[in-house]
Each structure stands twice: as C-alpha cells, then as structure tokens.
C-alpha cells in the first residue's frame, strides 16, 4: 500500500465571497478535517471577512483533539475530528483583466501587506466592492505565496493566452519563486488539453504548478444551493440562468486521493501544495491588541492609570476611600497590569472625559464595565459597584483569556461628535468601526429564493411578509400554505428547502452601530478597512465575535435617547429652577425621603416616558413588584425580559417577594446557592448568576462556565449551547438538586441566549430609570419638555407624553409664530394643583412645577430646524404683525408659512387656521410689485384691495383633525370626545371609569389604537393599547380571537371592544371577546356640521349676498347634500383615519 498523498487545498471560497461560495467557513473546515487534508486555505473574493471563523473553529478542533473531546459539527452531531491546519488568505480578483490570484501571507508582514492591498482596493471602489489592479499587487505583494488561477477558457483565445504569459513573466520577475500557476479541473471535456497547455506555459516560464479544485462548497450536494446563490447574484431565475450556472457539481472540497488521481500526470502540482503551505508561517494568533499609548509624559501607562484612578477615587468618595474599596481598586489595578490592558482603559477614559467635559455630552458606561471600580473612578460608569455588590471578575478575569469590552452610551443626537473626536484624535489609520454581518433571515431568504425560482412578485412578498419582524426560524409549511403555495408542488418544496439552507448566510457587511477598534499599529495592517455609507468613515472587515477571537479590543460608542433627554432636563432644571443635578448625584446612595414620592409614583405605574419601565409589560409588573429601593429597580429592569420570562422565573420571584413581605422564611436549594441567589430571593435573574450556578452547583470549571456564557450569546448562530445542557443538568442532579430545578436553571440560560442582562448592565440602566423617574415626579414640565425635545425616542408618541404631562397639571400651550422657539420651552405660569388628574392625586403635593410648556416648531411636521431658527426666530424682533409681515421680514418660503398656518400658529395675531391660510395663499413671490422698495414700507399693507371673503368656519372636530394632521396631536380636544355622545348610546365606557369596575365584568370600550404589541414570549397573544379622551386602556387579544378579528386588530385605527375586565394589583386589562372597526366614525368629525344645521355661523358664511337666485341655488344644494351626507361621512372617514395614529406595532 502506498502512503496517502498529501494535499492542501488553497482555493476554497466560503459564503463570505458573497453570493459565490455556498458553504460556511466552519463547514469547509469541518469537511477538510473529515477528509484529513493536510491543510485548508480560505481565500474569499477580495476579502478576509470569513477567515477568523475558520481559524476559530480550527483552534477549537485542535483544543478538543488535545483533550480528546468531540467537536460539534451540527445541531445534532458531534464527532472526533483530527486537527486541521487552516491558513488565511484571499482571492484577489482584479478589475483590469489580470487573472485571479490566490494570495497567502507568509508571516505577519505579509498579512499586513495583504490587508493594505485589500484596503487600497476597498477604498478605491464604491461601498461594498473592491477594485484591484495589477499595480497594487506589484506594490504590496511581498512576503506572500501567490498562485495564479487563470480562467481555463483562455486556451481558446490566442491574444489572451499571450497576455497570460506576459503576466506570468512579470510576476515571476517580481515575486520569483513565490508565484505558482494553479491547475483546476473543470470537467468540461478538455481538462487534459488545458492542463497540457498550462503546464507547457508554466515550464517555459519556470513557474511551478499547483493543484486546487477551487471549491465553492464543501460537499457535492451543495450544488443546488450554489445554483440558487448564482441566480440571486445574477438577478435571474434559475431556469433562465443558463451558462451562468455550473454544468456540474465538481466544485466541492475533494480529498487528497481524488485530487491525486485527477492530477496523476502532474503529481508535482499536488506535491507543491504541501510546499506552498510549508512557506506559510503566519497565524492569526500573531495579531494582538496594541492600544495607542495614552500615558502622560514621564509615566508608564500603568502609572498614569494608577494616578488617574486614585485621583478619581478621591473625587468619587469625598468622605475617604473605604478600605474594602481601596482593596478592590488595588486588585483591579494588579489584574489590569498583568493583562496589559492599561492603555485600553486610558483610551476609553480619554474619550469619555473629552465627551463629558469638553463637549458637555452626557454619557454612561453600560454592560459589564459597570462591575469595575476603576471604571467608576475614571467616570466611565456611574454606578458604584461597591454599593451594588457587582463582581469585577465578570469583567476581566485571570482564568479567561478574553479581552474586556467597555460599552459607553452617549446622547443619541450627539454621538456623532464623539465619533468625530475619535477620528480626529486617532486618525483613520488607527481607528475604525467594527463590521456587522447582515445575514439572510427568514424573510429575506424566503423572498430571494422565491425570486430565484421565478415566483411572481406577490408570492415573494407573501412569503416575505408572513413573518412578523426578524426571525431566524425556518420558513414553515404553514407559512407556505398561508402564502397560497401548495406543498405538494415541487417548486414550493424547493423554495422551502433552499430558503432554510440559505438562512444565516452572510449577505453583506455593514457598520456596527458604534464598535470602535483603536490600535497603535496601523489598523489597515491588522485587518482590511473599507468604506461605509458615510463618506470619510471606515469600517473593518471583522465583526465583534471575530475581534473576540483574535483578541482585539474594542470600545462601543453607543447612542441612547434617554441620555439626550436627561441632559436637556438637567439643563432646563439649572436654567429655570436653579437645581443642579448629575446622574451620579441621583444614584449611588440611599434615596431617603426624597426618593419616597419617586418610588410611590413608580409603584403606581405612573411611568409614561420613564426609561425602560414605560412599556406595557413593565408597567403591569410595577404594581406587583413594588420597587422601594434602587436594587428593586435593577431587578425590575432585568426581570421583564424574554430571558427570565421564557425561563419562567418571574412568578417564582414575585411569590418570594410576597413571602418576604409576610416574613415567611425563604428557603434556598442549598447553602452554596444561597450566596449566589440571596439578593434575588433564590431565583436566578442575571447572567452572572447563571454562570455562578454552573460553577457552584453544576461543577463547571470557571473557564467552562465562561464558554457557556459565550455559547449563550451566540447560541442561535452556533447551536453549541446544547453541548452544555446534559453536563449542566447532570452536574446539578449529581449534587442533589432536583432535576426540575436544574432544567429550569438551564432553560433560563437558554433564554439569555437572546436577551440576557448582566447585573451590572441592569444596574446602569436602573440608574437612568431612577433619574428619569425623579425628574418626572418633581418636575413633570421639565420632563415633558426634555422628552419632546429629544424625539424620536422611547415607547410613546408626543401625544401621549403631552397628555400625561397635562394630567399632572402641566399647562401646555400651542405653537405660535411669535412665542415659540424651535424646541419646546418653559414659560412662567402658576401651577394649578387642582388640574392634576385624580388618578395622580397624590402627586399634588409632590410636584414642584412653576412653568407651562410652549410647543416648539419641532412639533410641526415638515419644518426645517435651521430655517426656522435662522430666519423666523432670528428676525422676529418685537413680533410679526401679519402674515405678509412675516413673509417679508423672515424670508421664509410660502410653503413654510403655509405649514405654520396649517399648524394653527397665527393665533397671537388673531388669525385662525383658515384666515391665515387664505392670507398665505395670496403671497406671491413672482409678482414683482410685491417687493419693490417703494412699497417696502413699515405699514406693509396688502397692495391689492380685494373683496372680503368669508370662509366657512371650521368645526371643532375639523380643528382637531387638522391638529393631528400637522402636529400629530391636539391640545384642543381628543378626537374621541366628539364621538362620546354616540358612544354613550352604544354603552361604551370611558376608560377612566374602568378602575372603578369589578374584575370579571363584561365591558365595552372604544378608542384610538395606539400600540399593537406581539411579544415573542407571549405565544401569539396581541396586546392593544387604546386611548380615549379620558385615558388609555389595555386590551388582550388571545390567539383565537385574533384569528377571528385579525383584519380589525391589524387595520383599524378606531375600535370598539367588548370583553371581560381583568384587574390585578391595579393593573387592568380587557380580554377581547368582540372587536369592531369604528374607523368610519372618524368621518363624523369632519362631517360638515353646517350641513346638519348645527353651526349657525357657518350658514351665515355661505350667504354672502341676499340675491334670491342665489338662495334658491343654496337650498337646492342643501337638499342634495342631505341626501349625500351619509356618503360624505364615509368618504371623509378614510381621509380622517389617515391622519390619526396608525398604531405602532412592536414585536
């Protein structure tokens, strides 16, 4: 028996050669290991985006091999795998006719050059593509092994053939022995001839041959998917794709024996693959973080960090640093020094410090960084970890060789300034945004595959729209049926099969929201950089998991709307109330008597607009959880999450709280777990606790627990979490825990996979919860103004925020040309305690408001900030006296003034909506006489004398509709109030009265649909929020009712609901039995009151002359109109409905 031939595949493309490769990098690696190849080179088209995944898996296989463990290769299967050598490279595809080149860096310098080469191409091209030229390779091609992979069709084309020889000569002269000529079997019937021709050519130019199958997929049975991918790429149905498709399935990863057989005449081509690989000594291990040195002159980075930390500690703990805190600081410093992360901390410190002190931007670290006292001392985070028993080991630990990850939230509308600062300070050579990999989800995969099979547009969108929101679940047969496809149909089955296969394939790279990689070395020598949608901004080719795998540090510069709101609120407080507050002032201490009313308010779920706890689910939890101290808020934030809900942890926790209140002893599963679970009353709620349970109760080693945590984060993608399931449950059972409890703990960990909150993160968020609640409780005027000025953000639309402020006694004044600013501002006003709604009666003594709100122009749809600020406000002087005056002096366009009239902003000069509009329409910029200096006088009277026209007076209903149309809300009345008489006749109960009704009673309510919510954790149940003039009401539509009333639930803007009232701890829901679309009733609002004779003045307006003929005409009109009134109401309804809130859908 002869020894098995050695073969290394150097031409593998993965699905990171977007829409070319049809296998994941991981699949390629596993297959290469199964085939026991001597090596696998990953060479994607002008990209190294997929190499880290291959590298990480190869490393894991090697680790497992050493430990004699199996490697999981799919959701169900795990096997023993031999280690496989994987080399990162790239397939260089040129735009100038140069044949493709497979390029592999030999060492770290070569990698740097490859990255520079690809960056050059990326930056030259449009976003998302890469334009390379021969000259680029000539410039950057040193320290690399290269293989030319010409198109075999060249054999037929004499000029091209000559050109190929030219390339070979040039490359040979430039790169000497590093250049190879690749031979690839195509099975087009002429392989022998092509091999012979290429081999002659190579020999003539002293270039070694090298064999590769240039696989596009790991196994031959991927050919159909590969064809689908081609069809998607070429935007053509498969049946018409013709020769764009491969004629056969030969582009799979072939084993050494098969390759040796194919190349039996050219055995040196096979042997050369081994020699090629032997020259490659580069590994991604060689990339390590090297942060820019941020040390001050004369100090080492450690000394700088040490000094800044101590100075910060003195500031944070004015009463002196407690010994235990001092000890913590020393411990953290020691660890950071050992891990050499000093510069990383200093960099983050620098950015945060600059944002906070030089730019005046409110910011706060979130996530695990909040565990670190040093981060607290450096003002990166605002929550004192010592106060909140947070553990530093969650952040950095010796047992884990994983870089720390600091996420910082900034004000959402000013984050851009921080990003600009980072670019300015470090330059694009050293700072870049992390990539995010956009993958095919159910929706997009279904759509694209349906298109590839030539299904019509409406079937494509039917398949696409079947899924609510993002989902990675497979397109199910039920989905197909709903889209009108028959399952017995072959095409349908193919679509479902290949859509499922395409799931998770990357589509393109996009920039991560704010993850920055900052390096001391040139960034583009570590990883290629590329353009983003924004000019002057660059991102790297790797996503955050890739960065973790190659151990590069990143800083997440994130945007948070609530920070904008809080900063604006703090500014208003300082300006109008002379109250100086900061985030840290509001947290980190016992809130004492000042906190009492705040917590009272939270317990009543009076939290509209408050950070995090304003959603329907959160609000219904509050009266049951009854938070009384800061830590309760931390729990509140963490508990209403899909993780704990799916893990079924909420009710046990609530039960234990009730037990504690009644002083019943809480029992813990064991003493060891009491320490872990004490603060959450025996119910694991945080990610850390899950890990600690794994260690203490399931016997995991810390490193294993950490892998478990990482598996949680990526479990949907990698499916590795099940590896741990048996070990975890068995581990706990062997330590005498009940299997049920063990399974419960594990289920929760699974739930965390998608939405887990670490405790430190919950604590950071809880601080914002308290801060926003505090402002809302004491200064509802400031709170509402800040929220309005920070839109869009949060769960509620301005209409609800304003309504809530008014219910708390805040006066809100309409937008006006002479009184408003761009932002909503505060105007002196007496606070009317009686105006506080009785629901919030207890706030009467708490609220310290002394101002009214004046709407800003930002509330008006379609106005530009700069124009309004620079023209209208800047030139206002003592105020505008007429529409013409405003037009002449402010320089606003007529359309802009018309918009102001639409918004009813001329009241201060005595003009109603229609009068103002009438005047606006008369403005004519084209008429030269208007602007002659002669007439440009102070009185500015209208030059043209025209007969007075009496316009029909707007009914109140119309006013409200117009308010909604242009302001999205009305201060005049609620639309439903006009329908109240009608509704009362129908037995509809105003929402405010629901609180006084007994649970279980059948009631009928009606209102505008504000929100429809279908949480993933609620198994198809829909929550609807309705609003009438007295308040909001929540309705629950069970699956069965939803099936029956789907069209109404999803489409109606005004509904009438009959159902059973459920009241629990002050939380009221209506369980929908019957629901009726009342949208048509909105037409009544606009239904010309005058035609019903309701408005006398309007009738007057219609009779400008006493002419008898005229009168007869009018009578005739009236007669006809009355007969048409019903039809008119109907046609109005659809128009009016269009103005009303559509009802926001949340998932």
């Amino acid at each position: 028996m002869t020894t098995a031939p050695q073969f290394c595949e150097i031409g593998a493309r993965t699905n990171f050669s977007f829409l070319e490769g049809a296998a994941k990098p991981e699949e390629m690696v596993v297959q290469a290991a199964l085939l026991k190849l001597s090596g696998l080179g990953i060479a994607d088209r002008n990209s190294v985006a997929g190499v880290v995944r291959a590298y990480a898996l190869a490393k894991q296989i090697a680790d497992n091999f050493k430990k004699r463990e199996k490697t999981r290769i799919s959701e169900k299967e795990e096997i023993f795998l031999d280690p496989i050598r994987v080399q990162p490279g790239a397939r260089l595809v040129f735009s100038d006719g140069t044949p493709d080149v497979l390029a592999y860096p030999q060492n770290r310098q070569g990698w740097g050059r490859l990255c520079r080469l690809l960056s050059t191409g990326n930056l030259r091209a449009e976003k998302g593509s890469c334009t390379l030229r021969q000259a680029d390779l000539m410039e950057w091609g040193d320290e690399m092994m290269l293989a030319l992979a010409p198109d075999p069709a060249l054999v037929d084309d004499a000029p091209e053939w000559v050109a190929l020889e030219g390339y070979l000569q040039r490359f040979r002269a430039r790169f000497r022995k590093n250049v190879h000529l690749a031979l690839t079997p195509t099975y087009d019937g002429r392989d022998g001839r092509i091999f012979a021709a290429l081999s002659t050519l190579a020999a003539r130019n002293r270039i070694p041959l090298i064999a590769t199958n240039q696989p596009l997929y790991h196994k031959a049975d991927r050919r159909p998917l590969s064809d689908v991918v081609v069809a998607i790429r070429e935007h053509i149905p498969i049946a018409e794709a013709g020769f764009r498709l491969a004629p056969n399935a030969e582009r799979y990863l072939k084993d050494a024996r098969e390759m040796a057989r194919i190349f039996r005449v050219y055995s040196q081509a096979i042997e050369n693959t081994g020699r090629f690989f032997d020259k490659l000594s580069f590994s991604l291990d060689a990339l390590k973080h090297n942060y820019p040195p941020e040390n001050d002159p004369g100090e080492t980075p450690y000394e700088t960090l040490d000094r800044l930390t101590r100075a910060g500690a003195a500031k944070r703990y004015p009463g002196g640093v407690r010994p235990d805190i001092q000890e913590k600081i020393e411990g953290e410093l020691e660890l950071i020094r050992k891990k050499q992360y000093e510069s990383y901390f200093l960099t983050v410190h620098k950015i945060v410090h600059h944002a906070r002190h030089d730019l005046g931007i409110l910011c706060q670290g979130r996530g695990s960084a909040a565990n670190s006292v040093i981060c607290y001392c450096l003002e990166i985070t605002e929550v004192d970890p010592a106060e909140n028993k947070l553990v530093f080991e969650r952040f950095i630990s010796t047992s884990r060789d994983e870089p720390p990850d600091i996420d910082v939230d900034f004000e959402h509308d000013r984050r851009e300034e921080v990003i600009q600062y980072i670019y300015k300070r470090y330059g694009i050579e050293h700072a870049g945004l992390t990539a995010g990999v956009i993958t095919y989800r159910t929706r997009s995969a279904g759509r694209e595959v349906a298109k590839a099979f030539g299904l019509s547009e409406d079937v494509q969108s039917a398949i696409g729209s079947l899924v609510w929101g993002w989902s990675e679940e497979k397109l199910s047969e039920r989905d197909a049926k709903a889209a009108g496809l028959t399952l017995t149909d072959r095409v349908t089955q193919d679509v479902l099969t290949y859509a499922a296969a395409l799931l998770g394939f990357p589509r393109h790279l996009t920039q991560h929201v704010g993850g920055f990689v900052i390096t001391r070395d040139r960034l583009d020598e570590i990883v290629p950089i590329m353009k983003t949608a924004m000019p002057g901004r660059y991102m790297i080719e790797w996503d955050k998991d890739d960065l973790d795998n190659v151990k590069l540090l990143k800083v997440d510069v994130l945007a948070l709307g609530m920070l904008t709101c809080l900063r604006k609120a703090f500014d208003l407080l300082r300006l109008h109330y002379d109250v100086k507050k900061t985030l840290a002032d509001l947290g980190n201490k016992n809130h004492g008597p000042e906190g009492e009313p705040v917590y009272d308010m939270i317990c009543r779920a009076d939290t509209i607009g408050v950070f995090q706890i304003e959603s329907r689910a959160q609000m219904s939890m509050l009266p049951r959880l009854k938070p009384r101290e800061f830590y309760d808020l931390v729990i509140e934030v963490a508990i209403v999450r899909p993780g704990p809900i799916q893990g079924n942890m909420v009710h046990p926790y609530l039960k234990r709280r009730e037990q504690r209140e009644r002083n019943i002893q809480i029992t813990y599963p064991s003493k060891e777990l009491e320490d872990v679970l004490e603060r959450t009353l025996g119910v694991p709620l945080f990610q850390e606790q899950a890990m600690q349970i794994a260690i203490t109760a399931a016997g995991f080693k810390p490193a294993e627990a950490d892998r478990l945590r990482r598996a949680m984060a990526t479990f949907k993608r990698s499916g590795t979490i099940h590896t741990f399931e048996k070990k975890f449950v068995d581990g706990m059972v062997s330590r005498k825990y009940s299997r049920e409890f063990a399974q419960q703990c594990f289920n929760q960990i699974e739930g965390f996979g998608e939405y887990g909150f670490p405790e430190s993160h919950a604590a950071s968020f809880a601080l914002l919860v308290y801060a926003s609640s505090w402002i809302k409780a004491y200064y509802p005027d400031v709170f509402c103004a800040a929220l309005l000025n920070s839109q869009p953000m949060g769960f509620y639309a301005p209409a609800q925020l304003v309504r809530d402020a008014r219910e708390h006694g805040v006066e809100v004044r309409p937008v006006d040309i002479n009184l408003s600013d761009w932002d909503t501002v505060l105007e002196e006003a007496e606070f009317d305690r009686a105006a506080v709604h009785r629901r919030h009666g207890e706030m009467r003594g708490v609220i310290r408001t002394r101002y009214a709100l004046r709407f800003g122009f930002r509330q008006v749809k379609g106005l530009s900030e700069t124009i309004l600020k620079d023209k209208l406000v800047a030139r206002r002087g003592k105020g505008y006296s007429s529409v013409r005056d405003l037009w002449l002096r402010s320089g606003l366009e007529r359309a802009e003034i018309e918009r102001l009239a639409d918004a009813d902003a001329f009241r201060s000069i005595g003009l109603g909506r229609r009068e103002a509009l009438w005047a606006v329409r008369a403005l004519d910029a084209k008429s030269a006489a208007e602007k002659l200096p002669l007439f440009d006088r102070d009185d500015r009277a209208d030059l043209q004398n025209e007969p007075a026209v009496a316009l029909p007076v707007m009914s109140d209903g119309e006013q409200v509709i117009e308010d909604y149309r242009y302001l999205s809300l009305s201060l005049k009345a609620h639309p439903v109030s006009f329908l109240r008489a009608e509704f009362s006749r129908l037995g509809v109960v105003p929402h405010v009265e629901l609180a006084d009704m007994p649970s279980g009673q059948m009631v009928t309510i009606a209102g505008l649909v504000l929100v429809r919510q279908r949480p993933g954790s609620a198994k198809g149940v829909i929550f609807m929020t309705l609003e009438d003039e007295t308040g909001v009401a929540n309705a629950i539509v069970w699956k069965k009712a939803f099936a029956r009333y789907r069209a109404v639930v999803m489409g109606a803007r005004l509904v009438k609901i009959t159902g059973q009232l459920q009241s629990q701890s002050g939380v009221i829901h209506i369980i929908v039995h019957h629901i009726e679309d009342m949208t048509y009733a909105l037409g009544l609002l606009e239904g010309e009151a005058r035609w019903f004779g309701a408005n006398d003045r309007a009738d007057e307006a219609l009779r400008p002359t006493g002419d008898g003929r005229q009168k007869k005409l009018e009578q005739e009109i009236e007669r006809l109109i009355r007969s048409r009134a019903v039809a008119a109401v109907k046609s109005n309804a659809s128009q009016t409905a269009g103005v009303m809130p559509r009802g926001r859908n949340f998932h």
Binding site: G189, P224, R914, R921, P947, A1047, M1050, I1117
Partner: protein, 470 residues
Amino acid sequence: MRLTALSEGAEALGLKPGQGVAEARAMCPGLEVLEEDAAADRHFLEAVADWCDRYTPLVALDGTDGLFLDITGCAHLFGGEEALLKDILARLRRMGMDACGAVASSPGLASAVCRFGSGGIVTDADIAGVLAPLPVASLRLEEETVAALSKLGLKRVGDIMTAARAPLARRFGAFLLLRLDQALCLDEEPISPRRPVASLSAERRLAEPVVAEEDILALAGQIAVSLKPSMEARGVGGRAFELVLFRVDGAVFRICAGASRPLRDPQRIARLFSQRLQAVHDDLDTGYGFEILRLNVLHHEAFEGTQASFGGDRQSEASLAAFIDSVSARLGADCLQAFRFQESHVPERASATVFAADGLAAKLKASGPETPRSERPLRLFTVPERVEVLLAEIPEGPPQSFRWRRQQHRVSRSEGPERIAMEWWIDGLETPTRDYFRIEDEAGRRFWIYRQGLYDETPSPLWFVHGVFA
C-alpha cells in the same frame, strides 16, 4: 407595494386602495394579490373605446378609467340622449362592467357628474344646481389645489361658484376658474379622439349576426360598393382599408389590408380581406357572430398611380427582416418559425423553436455566451441511443469499444469527460449525471457518447450515443 384596486369582497373586509400590501396582508393573510397591469388595463379601456365606436367615431380616453364620447349630432340615431346613455350603460352592464355615465353640454360637467354625482342627463338649466354640491375634486384639479381648497373649507363646487373670483384666481391661479367655467359650460373644451376619423367610411348593421367567413367577405364587398361613389366623386382610390367587426358581445376586431395601388373596385377590395381573413383565421374568434361591419378607408391616393420602372431595384435587397415582415403580414406571425439557441448545459435543451419575428428580435438583444465551450456534434439525436460497452476505464474513462446499431466500434481516440449534471430544478436531484466523451473509432467516425451516472452514483451505469460528428 400598495393596493390599487379591490374586489367587492376585499372592500367588505375593510381594505382600502392605497394601503400597503404588507399591512393588508397583516389584516388578511389569505389575501390574493395580483400585480397591477397598467398596460392590460389600458388595453381593456381601449377595447371598450373601440366598442363605443358604434355610437360615434369621436371617442377619447379620460384618464385610466373613463371615456369621453362626443355625441353631438349622433344622439338622434339612437333615440335621443337618454336612450343613448341607457343603451350604452345597459350593454356595458350586460358585459359585466360596472359603469356609470352622464350626458352634459361639456366634457368637464359630464365627468364631474359621472364621477362624483349620480350621473344621468344634465340639462343646461340644471348645471349650477347639479354642480354645486359636488366636491371640488370633481373639477379635475391638481391634487395640491384640491387639498388647499379643502383646508380653507372650500370643499364643494358651490363654495367656489359663490366666492369672489379675483381672490380665488390670485390664490389658486387661472386654471381653477378655467376648470370651473368648463364645468359650467361657459368655456369650450375640445376632446381629443384617440383614432383619426377615417376619410371615408360605410357600415352595415345586421339584424342577424354573421359568423361565416364568406358572409363577412360578401358583406365587405357590398359595403365597398356603397363606398365607390364617394371615391369616384373625389377621384381617389384607397391604399389602406380597415374592416371593423363589432362582435355581439362587445369585442371589436380591426383587420387592415393594404393595396399596392389605389383601389376602388369593390370585388378587389373584398379580395384583399379574403387573404387577411385566412391568415388571421385562428385569432378571429367569431363567437356568436358580428352585428356591425364597417369599412374604413384609412388612406387614399389619387387614382392614377405611377408605374414602376424596370430599372428600379429598391425592393431587390430585401433583408431577412423585411422578408419575415412581409411573410408575417401576409400569413400571420405564427407561420414562420426559427431555431433559437437556448442557454442550457443539457444538450437536448439547448435549442428551441420560436416565431421567426421574435427570434430575430431576441437575437439582436442576446448577450453572454452563445454556445457551450466544448464542441457539440453536428447531428444530435432526439433520443439518445443505447450502446453496449464492455470495458471502460474506472472511474471516469472512455470506453475501449462499444456496440451501436449492431455494429462493434473500437475506440482509437477520445477526449473527455465533459461532466453535465442534470437540471435539478426540472429533473430532480436523483437524475444521474452524464459524462460525455468525444470518440473516434478506428474507421475515423466520430461519436458523442455518454455514460449515464457516475460510478459512485450507479453501480453499473448505462452508455448512450447522443450524436455524431461530421
């Protein structure tokens, strides 16, 4: 994507035109959506317009869903305006159309009353009364103007009629008042008919519909007789004729025929159509027969034609396109077929027959590879023929000899394999892959032979000869 039109059922569910398809589907997951086909809609409207030719030659399209008929001087032929309108609407309804109509002294008024009012006949005395209660949108104004007017509370035409004109013109421009005056019949507005009015025309209305071709031709001849005097009076002859056939159910067929020289003779004119009728025979669905036949002279010339000279050779270099055109015009587009190359790796699917005219057009557009890279045999068998192969190189070599049509061939040279996997989206995943070889036997004959199935797919694969090279 948005909904543009709804069935009655969909309306009842509360769906609205203009609604997003995604939203509509969220409401009714079973919703059946057809893509709007504006061309087909227009085609349909034009067909209705053609049909309306029976009332007046002056038919104009109004937007995407309306028709203007200028019935000046025609109404009496149908028993007056009311009877005419009733006749049209009744017939349209019988054909399954939900139509409404109005007769008025101006297009603007008719359109307003028809689209926004109750339709019917508007007498000149009623104009203001009928118009006043209609919404301003009925005046065919720009959307922006309608919106601006309604914001001011001027929602009905009456509101504008009674308002002072100068301020209105200042604010909304002269167009508003023009439209108002047009609707009030104070201003003229011509309609633009979609078809040129034929220079000469004659028709025959039949009590009994005709079906048979010879009857149609005979009638055409009779109508041509009635045209002759007018042509003679003008001293012209027809070059282009059009025979318009109104089918009982409303379909209208137009058959054109050209003459190489001006014609007057009724028999010759009728004969022109006999050829055309034969050519279009399959397309001319006579259904329940035709009730009106009309013969139009579309183009005429002075009767004395010039004679062509012997020297003229303008026609001699007729291109293929001209040939296809002329034959197709004579015999119909489906009479000439051509082969077209089709991109498919599977040899028997690499060609298709198409109409010659389409094939020519497609050829001009075609891009990308025209042929597979590897050579194909001159003659490809429709059905591959089995051959017996005793010995072949494993796993993917050519046979050493084979037996085909009872004759043994020894292979002297070969090239291959060219591996062609079947088209899985048609053939399924199970159909075996083929390995083709070009083979020359000792006698120098060349064959295209394939093995069906790879050795690891099938234990004993079959061999076929699929074609022969020259």
